[in-house]
């Protein structure tokens, strides 16, 4: 059951990182010169989203 719960939690994080990547790629396509600064912002945003998925991972391990 824990694995199923983790899978459900990851759906949200997956959508979040996907949205961040979508925003980053479409803005780079429009304005290639901001690529360097956008990369930092993109990594930062995905790090915050990813933390939620990883907390789910830890909870799965603890709950077993």
């Amino acid at each position: 059951m824990g694995v199923i719960g983790y899978g459900l939690g990851v759906v949200g994080a997956g959508i979040g990182i996907g949205l961040a990547a979508l925003g980053a790629t479409s803005s780079i396509a429009r304005q290639p010169e901001v690529q360097g600064r956008l990369f930092t912002v993109f990594i930062l945003a995905s790090a915050f989203v990813e933390a939620l998925a990883l907390i789910g991972f830890v909870v799965t391990l603890i709950a077993q």
Binding site: T40, I43, L44, L54, F57, V58
Partner: protein, 268 residues
């Protein structure tokens, strides 16, 4: 016998081998787990690289020559320009030593962990937690030093909010400040730990599916050996991803530390 049935027991053994075990001394007292051992190896390698760099640099004057010197200098300059100057602004010079040492420590640990047979020093919650604690204490001290103790506590709540909401926002901000400590540690630890468990699982699959062909060549065994090659291909892809993760996690940890320092220093 289906190799997938054996996988379940093997995975348990794999996860056991990834939990901290003392190789010298006692795990609850003074001792050395396999993770701390590889952490010391990573520190030694990092020191060797940096001292060789300084020596080679001094031999040629200040102009960098050769692939090695240029490579190290690229990393240092990347850390200085992207992480320090880009985020911290005018005071980058004060924080550059701290940020660079965290970056290089994590990077060395992660890269040592990528080598098959080695363990990443940052892949246990102890090391990752200690690093996060260092970063946490550092940005709080910076905040207190630049704004005063009361100023820093006040600066957690945004200005221009009426009284009752003010207190609620302040509480949430205090909570999220302590959450930073947990997320920094858990992010680093989990990325390394989970990545290595996944790599280990595919390596196990690869070897389990290759076993039948060693005991006798039958059509089923040949089919399973073919599947083993497929697992090997996936393993190689994941290995490539893990190399990227090693660099990105060092970058993310340092980047977040720099962001927190900047927030603490300049107020919100």
């Amino acid at each position: 016998m289906n190799p997938l049935e054996k996988l379940h027991e093997e995975i348990d053994g794999l996860v056991d081998s990834f939990t901290s075990q003392a190789i010298v001394g006692d795990i609850w007292g003074v001792g050395l787990t396999q993770y701390t051992f590889w952490m010391f190896v990573a520190i030694a390698l990092l020191l060797i690289v940096l001292f060789v760099f300084v020596k080679k640099q001094a031999a040629h004057g200040l102009v960098p020559r050769g692939r090695f010197v240029n490579g190290v200098e690229f990393l240092v300059e990347y850390c200085r320009d992207d992480l320090c100057k880009g985020l911290l602004g005018d005071t980058w010079r004060n924080h550059f030593p701290f940020i660079a040492s965290i970056f290089f420590f994590i990077l060395a640990n992660n890269i040592v962990g990528i080598i098959p047979g080695c363990k990443p020093g940052t892949g246990c919650i102890g090391t990752a937690g200690a690093l996060a604690l260092v970063s946490f204490v550092y940005f709080i001290v910076i905040g207190v030093r630049s704004q005063g103790l009361i100023g820093y506590i006040k600066s957690l709540a945004p200005e221009g909010v009426a009284f009752p909401m003010n207190a609620v926002v302040w509480l949430i901000e205090v909570f999220s400040t302590f959450l930073r400590l947990i997320t920094l540690a858990v992010r680093l630890f989990c990325n390394l730990f989970a990545g290595h468990v996944v790599m280990g699982a595919f390596a196990l699959l690869c070897s389990l599916f290759f076993e039948p062909i060693l005991q006798g060549i039958t059509p089923i065994a040949i089919g399973e050996a073919g599947a083993s090659l497929f697992w090997l291909a996936i393993l190689l892809v994941i290995y490539g991803v893990e190399i990227m993760v090693a660099a990105i996690q060092a970058y993310v940890f340092t980047l977040l530390s720099a962001v927190y320092i900047q927030i603490a220093e300049q107020g919100e």
